[in-house]
């Protein structure tokens, strides 16, 4: 028998009955829901949530309280919280003069994102771009009648890069929802010396099949479900940019009939050169021309497992191979103990 003592710390909050923190690659900002018997936190109070076990716990959420509900008969407070990026989603960009929208010229992707974040008063920002990508070369990159987050989302969609918040800081980098080797990145970036994506965890059932792994295996899987489908597969990408700029990338898929193309269209005024349109088409084709292999994993709680990490899975019945991207993770503390539920994909 193994015993683990649960740890939860939320300043200015007592009688914590449950915590659910949801982080997701596809979600604007992380969401935390707290049920407690008493709290001094009010709307927009800063909140941090540190949880795990008494011998190993981590700060998993930094954000603000966005709603407070108090219910009878149990008298519990329900706090709904969002991380820093909610400000970017809430800040709508509207120019007083429609002819003069917010815009930037000849600006790198990371600086453009940084300037947009400042519009939402977000200043704690750490971009780690792997390569240079310049917007507004031929015409300004302009945004109007969109939220800051939607504007940033458009940049991320063209590059297949990603923006996220952790510990109150916003990050912008090339995170793709599938595993890449250093050679894959060398090809994308046009320069050598890139490293493979890092495998953060090897999750397994109690039947440890491979005794020696790096990192060591964690026998914590309590439930597992594997699904393969072609639902999200797209083997043709058509890009439409500013004026007459277009690009197309396509490839045969071994999972579709010959000459059968499932097409996705990407249209953005940010794309103002043929080279950028081609890069956008190629980045997105590489991302989308693959089977949708997903898995739902229930595990014992582990506060070092986070969204956007890559993991390996050892489960002898379904025998999933390769490396998996954590698309969504829920850290849940309740009467049922501390558990995590992961949605992963290849």
């Amino acid at each position: 028998m193994a015993r683990k003592d649960i740890y939860v710390s939320i300043p200015n909050t007592t009688g914590i009955e449950s915590v659910n923190i949801s982080e997701s690659y596809g979600q604007t900002s992380s969401v935390a829901t707290v049920l407690c018997t008493d709290t001094d936190l009010v709307l927009n109070s800063p909140i941090t949530i540190n949880l795990g076990y008494t011998d190993a716990h981590n700060n998993l959420f930094t954000g603000r309280v966005k709603s407070v509900t108090r219910a009878r008969a149990d008298g519990l407070y329900k706090l709904q919280c969002r991380d820093t990026l909610i400000d970017a989603a809430d800040m709508f960009m509207v120019s007083a003069d429609p002819e003069a929208p917010w815009g930037r010229s000849n600006i790198s992707a990371e600086d453009l994102v940084g300037d947009l974040l400042e519009e939402a008063f977000i200043y704690s920002y750490t971009p780690t771009p792997p390569m240079s990508f310049t917007y507004g070369l031929n015409a300004p990159a302009e945004f109007n009648f969109v939220s800051v987050m939607d504007a940033i989302g458009e940049i991320c969609r063209t590059l297949v890069w990603h923006v996220w918040a952790d510990g109150g800081t916003v990050y912008f980098s090339d995170i793709k929802p599938y595993y890449r080797t250093g050679a894959d990145k060398d090809e994308e970036y046009g320069e050598s010396g890139n490293e493979d994506d890092v495998i953060s965890h090897v999750l397994s059932t109690a039947d440890v099949m491979i005794p020696e792994t790096d990192p060591p295996q964690k026998p914590i899987i309590t439930g597992f479900e594997l699904t393969v489908s072609d639902e999200d597969l797209r083997n043709k990408v058509m890009v439409f940019g500013r004026e007459d700029i277009t690009a197309t990338a396509s490839a045969e898929s071994p999972y579709l009939p010959p000459d059968f193309y499932k097409t996705v269209v990407i249209a953005s005024q940010l794309i103002d050169s043929g080279g950028m349109a081609e890069a956008t088409a190629n980045f997105n084709l590489k991302r989308l021309n693959r089977l949708t292999e997903t898995a739902q994993i229930d595990c014992l709680g582990d506060s070092t497992i986070r969204a956007r990490q890559f993991i390996q899975i050892n489960e002898k019945t379904t025998d999933p191979t390769g490396f998996w991207f954590i698309e969504t993770i829920n850290h849940i503390i309740s009467n049922g103990g501390y558990t995590v539920r992961l949605s992963v994909r290849k």
Binding site: M1, K4, G337
Partner: protein
């Protein structure tokens, strides 16, 4: 002599059942459980006994229960602290030797 909230109860049974907050988990293919421990609730105890010569105290004890009023428990060993009466099951029983009603009580308490 036992009293609860100042009312005398003839106690012939005193039991408790600690309930630490523990959840049990099973890792797939495992051969033992993993337990998550996250504290424990207030002590609870159950008293069984009778109201004999002071049956009018029953409505007072019921009132303490209905209002969840912390009530001092005194046992034959001395003061036991304040408890909330979470339930009080009462059943009138026949005792031909007595003129006043006799009540059999089962009182559930939670430490205040």
């Amino acid at each position: 002599m036992w009293t609860l909230g100042g009312y005398r109860v003839i106690v012939n049974g005193d039991s408790g059942k600690p309930e630490p907050k523990i959840s049990e988990h099973f890792v797939l293919d495992g051969t033992e459980s993993v337990y998550h421990y996250f504290g424990y609730g207030s002590p609870t105890r159950t008293l069984t006994g009778h109201l004999l010569d002071n049956p009018d105290d029953l409505p007072s004890l019921v009132a303490l229960c209905n209002t969840a009023t912390p009530s001092a428990l005194v046992s034959d060993q001395g003061a036991e602290g304040d408890y909330i009466i979470t339930s009080i099951a009462h059943q009138r029983i026949v005792d031909i030797k007595r003129v006043k009603p006799v009540w059999r009580l089962t009182i559930e308490l939670k430490k205040a």
